[in-house]
């Protein structure tokens, strides 16, 4: 259960990006946050992930107030808009990253990486360079990387933009399937209403 209460973010001292935002994501629920770009959707994700400190408000996860926790202790995963795969590591090492941070033994890590790559439809690509991936493949790897440490909550920032129509729809369906299969609570930011409907259980429209 993710609970956001009264979050306020002001940038440059005067522009209010988020003005007392409340939002809930139930366990296992996939929520789409849909609205025009520039509405502060990504900013909210960054607050929840701990990458940005809000001027006011609280974020609770599993009943615990995590507002003051640094991002690496929150157990909240995030799929970034441009994937942000580490180019100096291959696919397997990217997916493995979060597991290494948890000090999991090597054999377990390898098994988990294989499992995740299988889940996102890219079995056996561990040793490929991330720079050799196509746009769709990179997004799948980014999803696998975020899911590998099994975060109870996953944030997705426009995870499907920049793909052609057919690929986009296929990936949207895969994303919905993977999130359900792993039972991950998810909050996805998108500007695309059709995409939101395709992936999410519930859509929160943001006009701002």
């Amino acid at each position: 259960m993710l609970e956001v209460r009264g979050v306020v973010v002001v940038v440059f001292g005067d522009r209010t990006v988020l003005d007392h935002v409340d939002l809930d994501v139930a366990d296992g629920e996939v929520v789409a946050l849909q609205g025009p770009s520039g509405a502060g959707k990504s900013t909210l994700l960054r607050v929840i992930a701990g990458l940005l400190v809000p001027q006011a408000g609280t974020v609770r996860s599993g009943g615990v107030d995590i507002t003051e926790l640094p991002p690496h202790r929150r157990g909240i995963g995030m799929v970034f808009q441009d994937e942000q795969l580490f180019p100096h590591r291959d696919v397997g090492q990217n997916v493995e990253f979060g597991l290494r941070m948890q000090h999991r033994p090597k054999a377990e890590r390898a098994a988990r990486v294989a499992e995740l790559l299988e889940l996102v439809g890219l079995p056996g690509v561990e040793r490929r360079s991330v720079t050799s991936l196509s746009g769709g493949e990179a997004k799948r790897v980014a999803l696998a990387r975020s899911l590998a440490p099994a975060p109870p909550v996953l944030l997705l920032d426009e995870p499907l933009t920049g793909l052609d129509r057919e690929l986009h729809d296929r990936l949207a369906d895969d994303l919905a399937r993977v999130l359900r299969a792993t039972g991950t609570s998810a909050l996805m930011v998108t500007h695309n209403a059709a995409e939101a409907a395709r992936v999410a259980d519930r859509i929160v429209s943001w006009a701002h």
């Binding site: 960054r46 992930a49 701990g50 990458l51 940005l52 400190v53 809000p54 001027q55 003051e68 640094p70 991002p71 690496h72 202790r73 929150r74 157990g75 909240i76 995963g77 995030m78 970034f80 441009d82 942000q84 580490f86 100096h88 590591r89 990253f97 979060g98 941070m101 948890q102 990387r145 975020s146 440490p149 944030l155």
Partner: protein
Amino acid sequence: MDRHRPALIDAPPRWLRPALLVVPVAFLALFYAWPVGTLLAQVADRSAVSKVLGREALRQVVWFTCWQAVVSTVATLVVGLGPAYLLARWGFPGRRLLVAVVTVPFLLPTVVVGAAFSALLPDAMLGTATAVVIAHVFFNVAVVVRLVGTVWAQLPADLVHAARTLGASPWQATREVTLPLLRPSIMAAAMITFLFTFTSFGVVQILGGPAHATIEVEIARRATQLGDVGGAAVLSVLQLLILAVLLVVAGRTRRSSELPLRSVERARPRTMRTRLGVTAAVAATTVLMAAPLVALVTSSLRPGGRWSLTAWRTLGNDRAVRPGAALGVDPLASIATSLRFAVVATVISVTVGALAALAISGARRRGRLLDVGVMLPLGTSAVTIGFGMLITFDQAPVDWRGAWWLVPLGHSLVAVPFVVRAVLPVLRARPDAWLDAAATLGASPLRRWWEIDVRLVRRPLVTGAGFAAAISLGEFGATTFLTRTGNETLPIAIGRLLGRAGDIPRAQASALSVLLAAVTVTVLVAVDAMGDPAGDRPGSR
């Protein structure tokens, strides 16, 4: 708590930043700032300054330094624009090989260039200003080919075509369209060539003879031969000031091309005329650039005009040449010394350079100060660095005159800026979002820095290590001051051998130069193949 922290996710962790600064700052303060301070203190006595500056001989040195640099620069541009045009605009088989042939001189240690031209030019020309200028041109043609050629290759051919359809003759189109667009790059090439030739030491020392001295050569002569430390200090400070002014000017004329980056368009020679023209140009360029190196190899094999391997065979044992008359140089030992120093200098420069780069990129805006500090040795002539160290570390508790490590340390002062410049762009280009991603994957601040920034610098550090090794192998200016008997490096041994009479020493100098050139070029080519070519010339000082 402070809720206005701008960059929440940052690397390295705040508490680590001061620790990263310690080594680079201490290194620069001790081995750069202190010696430069000592030099400045030496000239605090005004009467000594006016005495030195008032001398006619000194005015001649400054005058020669300036005019040979101007003539060398103009000649380099005139000679270099041909190959630049050829390699930028024409595609032909073997083009890449020719690029390599033109680039190699740029990578050679100055003593090797000096030795090559003393092998190539007739004896009557040695010791003349002409010899110096010719060697400078050979050395710096690559600057023009690289800087001007890159822009030239991206000029759309249709720009000239447009001018032609508007009634311009080929020459008018060149003058009205091509040259103005190339001007920023030509100015940049001129500026760099001028800086290199103005501070030229090895080439002038070897080819200029007793009658021609640049400020660099004169500093060395006064300090090491005449024992005129005060005069040498005045000249060093003068050189520092002139260089500072030149670098500021160079910074102002930064190449700003208004051209959008385009794909390269190269024409294939198809008509009879263009084929002949390209072939002739390729042949001329090859001969010009290869002749000195061919002469170098030949002269190592032809002591006294007869083919023999004597010079090579006697490298390890100079007694065999003239019984009882040792050369005072052990060529074979100098190879071992050079390799040993190169390893030490590389370790020092890589350590200091890596820490400096990580500290600079971590400190963001405040890092600029250290950035400037790290680059200062680059704007200081190697001779000044060596001389400053020599007169600073000569009394207890820092009497390090006999310490062998002072030599590789001097080399690493010259090399650190190159290491930093190889590493820093990689760190600066690293998106902050990677840190965010690592954070959401559970990486602590220290871990984020270690896993991302520290990992990222490994590859460019290999490049930096190659630069440092090449610089150390070829370094001549600073080494001249810091070297001690028994610890001669290859360039020092070559310089000594060239200064001796007789056929065998000269052939030996050539043989050692061939070795030094081969090792240096191999290191740099290996590095180039491994990483990105960071552009600047490392082996020149």
